[in-house]
Point group: C2
DNA sequence: TAGATTGTTAATCGATTAACAATC
DNA sequence: TAGATTGTTAATCGATTAACAATC
């Protein structure tokens, strides 16, 4: 029963995937599953699944496998989903509004409590029951409320200074949709959704075959 | 001058990041940069940058470094950004609309030409100049138009069957926002934006320290 | 008890880093 | 030419896979 003190990013990125599949299995009424079966379902090796899970402790049972609901709950707890989070959204543009409108996060304990934007055209607009406030009110809000997570959906140029203000105001996690790599002090968590990067990776994959055909042709010419 | 025939995912994921930083540098008027300097900027080792770039050929010059604009163009071409893409959006919910409304992709050659949704409440709605069509018209559209990329922003339960229809209709790339891991034939590219997974990773990171404190306490108890 | 499957250690594979000769 | 910095090969590190003893 060895506990690693820090889990590799490769493992962390797979955790939500485990959670998703286990939730589906639970919904489908599956009670137990072996690492073998789960691996076939998720396109991972049974070995990798057992290694991953054992970063956090032995949740299985020899000769039986894993109890689906139990493992789901364990991984949910590892992901911090047993907690409730106070969330604010910075930027009421397309992305900011889409996130605020999505009801699913609320159900998982991510409670959006305020929204801010610089644009006077957006200030006062009602997004899913929340009135967009002017950016000048951000600092005041942060000193009056305990905010856990900020959704950062602002243009690249202003993302870093706003992130600094958020950190100064006590925010512990930033969900960053701005196309920049933020510099944050130790202890503040960040996760990026770089939509443009993601689309570029898609177009890369669509062209990879041709790309190497060209490169080789170029070399041979 | 060795060309690998297939580039690892780790490298591919960094390509858009290079592109982003090089574009910024170009905009800032920087003409040349060494792997050392670029590495400091991007939090990578100089060695890794040279290895990454040399997956595609030698774009630098000994004693000089890399020409920013040139390298940016090269990586842009590797990412397939010199092409124009015909894009359709499936699902006119929060995410589908946010993507369609975002003008930036249009500027990079990703031209959204149609939108589809099952909901009669959304059919006929104008999103950024595009009228949402009923889902029944998808198949007909695909046979009448050459679609390169489909943005899949639909509920998990219907994502796989719709993806199958898209592939049957000639779509070569799927930008998947549904929280499922799609099964697609070889030759069809996919890239996922799993928003919920991303938020879960953030909450994991916010709690990691406490998590291991608990695990250790549990062990010692 | 026998069979199944985990938890864990050892072996392999691949990605990152270091080193250095090539060359601008 | 001397200095700088790449391209590339070798060394290291970490992640994945395989193997198997522990045990339910």
């Amino acid at each position: 029963m060895a506990f690693k003190s820090r889990v590799s990013d490769a493992v962390v990125r797979r955790l939500p995937m485990y959670y998703r599949h286990l939730r589906e299995l639970e919904k489908a009424g599956v009670v137990r599953i072996s690492s073998q079966e789960l691996g076939e379902r998720m396109n991972l090796t049974a070995s990798q699944i057992r290694q991953d899970i054992n970063c956090f402790g032995g949740f299985g049972q020899q000769g039986y496998g894993y109890h689906v609901s139990n493992l789901k709950e364990r991984i949910g707890a590892i992901l911090g989903l047993q907690h409730a989070y106070h969330v604010i959204v910075i930027g009421a543009g397309n992305i900011g509004r889409a996130i605020a409108n999505y009801a699913g996060f609320e159900r998982e304990g991510f409670h959006i409590q305020a929204m801010f934007d610089v644009s006077s055209a957006l200030v006062g607009v009602d997004v899913h029951g929340i009135l967009v406030q002017p950016m000048e009110k951000l600092e005041g809000w942060l000193s009056a409320h305990a905010v856990d997570i900020a959704v950062l959906a602002v243009p690249a140029a202003v993302a870093q200074p706003i992130a600094d203000a958020l950190v100064a105001g006590g925010v512990r996690g930033i969900w960053n949709f701005a196309p920049v790599d933020l510099t944050l002090p130790q202890g503040v968590a960040v996760n990026n959704v770089h939509l443009s990067d993601s689309l570029h990776i898609l177009s890369y994959r669509m062209n990879e075959k041709d790309l190497f055909a060209e490169l080789h042709a170029g070399r041979d010419a």
